[in-house]
């Protein structure tokens, strides 16, 4: 059991790191479009933009 957990650990760590990477890329990527959204969407929808 302990040996199995040890084997799974790198895989879990890898997955967690990858998910963090995905979050980082997605957040930074979509934030680029703030100015464009401000110019296209109604004001009531964009007044609380990040």
């Amino acid at each position: 059991m302990i040996a199995g957990e040890k084997k799974q650990l790198p895989s879990r760590l890898w997955q967690a790191l990858f998910v963090l990477w995905l979050l980082f890329v997605n957040i930074v990527f979509y934030l680029q479009f703030r100015a464009l959204l401000d110019s296209r969407l109604p004001h009531w929808l964009t007044r609380w933009h990040l």
């Binding site: 967690a16 990858f18 995905l22 890329v25 990527f29 296209r40």
Partner: protein, 627 residues
């Protein structure tokens, strides 16, 4: 009337597609080349047929001999040569249709495919709006239009005309057949064909459902949707030929078959013939050919075919400008080059605003092209998927030739782009390869039972698909009403085409009057009076006048038979002093003016500003030189 006209244009595009594909099928049959499925054979045939069409149309357009009669004759000749290719086309269409309509195909799958083709139809409908793309109005379409009535499509007052390649032959063909909307339809057809070849490429690396996601993502990616619908740039054909070259080369290596090497070389050359940077794709294909086969003979065969398929624009540019890669090799070839002001502006135009060749900048380019795309040639419009899934590339089945070749071509082209231009949108030719590999990595990782990775990847894909679909819909909103006849062409162009109101004012004032007009704005496609473009950043003669006195400017006006000079709103920085001097001395005399509106900055932000346009008449009777 508008819906009927749109239908006529769509039928014309479909007819050209059928002629090209039948012709390609006949050539494939004659060469005894058969792909693994009717679907792939049809794609290779379309590639071969459109390449042949491009080559002949380009040759004719280069000598300004592509008019309506010649275009129709070319298409009829291809249709006749196609012979039993028509029957083959019918059989393949029927075979594809049967496989789609099989009762064993699940309704969900049918719905998914229908949604994909509906998205394609939506892009095609958007493309039916009148031409408004900025670069298209500057040179993609203007060059083809300007060829009428002159001996060459190349103009030294629009130096970007030298950047037109074989893909532009389809634009010239559409215009010669009578409509810029046929040309736009052919560009969109190139996009739909690329989507189909992305599906074929992805199917080699993942199951059909994932391949569908890959193809749908490709089509909806904002960069692709913009390029194939309203941009008026033929670059998407580079993506099509790049993906076909990789597929053909993978088959060539697997079967060690010379015919497939020839085909791969031809498609690689088609990419080179489209744009200077396309030669890096051709070089990558030829190089990987040697890496995979270690055969100089195979590599030579592939290279010669690539050269034959793409050398025509180089020959034309060498003949007219003295440099096959005009104007970038002028100095090295020891020829009289452009004025430093103009050359620097052209180099600047081909590079991103933050271009720098430092180690840190190169290291950061793969990240910043996606995450800070506004500074790197609109790289953000490709979406985050390739960067986001990049760590998963280690799981791609690299043992498969198609994966290795796609990876090599992508890597080499990406590296060269980082070293030469750092322009995100120049990566369009290899985007199908990058996307297919990135999604293949996500599929392989999720197959390992990594549930968290699978969920995260699917969520990222789904969110990007939704975002892209929303963005495309929002973007297309301005273009659809005119395409379906709910808005007049005039009102649409007034609102959406940059510099259109200036061009319309000039047409109204100077139409039918003798003499040429000198203009300083760049979007000259809708000008219908004889003109000399004099933006010093894109005109050889105007560039040479930068920093010179008014006498030289007056010489140019007289030499080029310029009777009118248009201020909109002022003169360009390099010519301002000289032109104002002529104005002060009444050699340039205002005869008409108007207040118009135009875009302030990028059109996508919709900000407009008022501009005063003044037409000045060049005083003919004044002799001597200005003080």
């Amino acid at each position: 009337m508008a819906p009927l006209a749109t239908l006529g244009v769509l039928l014309s595009v479909a007819a050209i597609f059928a002629v090209a594909t039948s012709f390609g099928l006949r050539i494939l049959a004659w060469s005894r080349i058969e792909a693994e499925s009717p679907y792939e054979t049809a794609l290779f045939a379309a590639g071969l047929g459109f390449l042949a069409l491009e080559l002949v149309a380009f040759a004719l357009a280069s000598v300004a001999f592509l008019h309506r009669g010649q275009s129709l004759a070319l298409l009829i000749a291809m249709a006749l040569v196609a012979g039993n290719g028509w029957a083959m086309l019918a059989r393949r269409v029927a075979a594809i249709w049967r496989s789609e309509a099989k009762p064993s195909v699940s309704p969900r799958w049918k719905l998914a495919r229908a949604a994909l083709w509906a998205s394609g139809a939506f892009a095609m409908l958007t493309a039916m709006a009148p031409l408004t793309g900025s670069d298209a109005l500057r040179y993609h379409f203007t060059t083809a239009l300007a060829a009428r009535g002159s001996r060459s499509p190349l103009r030294f007052d629009i130096l970007h005309s030298f950047f037109t390649g074989e893909g532009h032959a389809l634009i010239a063909l559409g215009l010669a057949l009578g409509s810029d909307r046929i040309a736009l339809g052919l560009i969109c057809a190139g996009g739909l064909l690329t989507m189909a070849v992305v599906f074929a490429l992805a199917s080699r690396l993942m199951p059909a459902a994932w391949a569908w996601v890959c193809a749908a993502t490709f089509l909806l990616t904002p960069m692709v949707f913009w390029q194939i619908s309203v941009s008026g740039a033929p670059d998407i054909w580079m993506s099509f030929f790049t993906a076909l070259a990789v597929l053909a080369l993978a088959r060539a290596v697997r079967d060690d078959n010379s015919r497939w090497f020839v085909l791969a070389g031809l498609f690689a050359g088609a990419v080179g013939g489209a744009k200077y940077t396309g030669w890096f794709v051709a070089a990558a294909v030829v190089l990987i050919c040697w890496v995979e086969t270690r055969s100089a003979r195979r590599m030579f065969l592939c290279g010669v075919c690539a050269f034959l398929a793409g050398f025509l624009p180089l020959l034309r540019n060498f003949g007219v400008g003295g440099d096959p890669f005009f104007p970038f090799l002028m100095q090295r070839l020891g020829r009289h080059t452009l004025a430093p002001y103009t050359f620097a502006a052209i180099v600047r135009d081909t590079r991103s605003s933050l271009f720098r060749l430092t180690f840190l900048r190169l290291l950061g380019f793969p990240f910043r092209v996606t995450l800070d795309g506004g500074q790197y040639g609109l790289g953000q419009l490709f979406g985050p998927l390739v960067l986001a899934f990049a760590p998963l590339l280690v799981f791609v089945p690299w043992r498969k030739p198609v994966a290795r070749m796609a990876g090599f071509v992508w890597l080499l082209f990406f590296a060269v782009t980082a070293l030469t231009t750092q322009m995100g949108r120049f990566l369009l030719p290899v985007y199908p390869l990058a996307l297919a590999l990135a999604v293949a990595g996500a599929f392989e990782a999720s197959r390992r039972g990594w549930r968290v990775v699978r969920v995260a990847c699917v969520a990222t894909l789904a969110f990007f698909l939704l975002f892209s679909a929303g963005a495309d819909l929002m973007y297309a909103r301005d273009f659809l009403p005119v395409a379906v006849g709910l808005e007049s062409r005039q009102a649409f162009l007034d609102k959406m085409a940059p510099d259109y109101q200036i061009a319309a004012f000039i047409n109204g004032e100077l139409g039918g009057r003798p003499g040429k007009a000198m203009v300083f704005f760049q979007h000259v496609y809708y000008l219908r009076v004889p003109f000399v473009a004099a933006d010093p950043t894109d005109s050889r003669a105007a560039g040479e006048l930068v920093g010179q006195g008014p006498g030289k400017l007056l010489d140019l006006l007289r030499r080029q038979n310029v009777r009118w000079v248009v201020k909109s709103p002022g003169f360009p920085p390099g010519l301002n002093d000289a032109a104002r001097k002529l104005e002060e001395e009444n050699i340039l005399r205002p005869v008409a003016s108007s207040e118009v509106t135009d875009f302030a900055g990028d059109r996508i932000y919709r900000r407009r500003e008022n501009i005063r346009v003044v037409i000045l008449q060049v005083e003919k009777n004044r002799t001597g030189r200005p003080k």
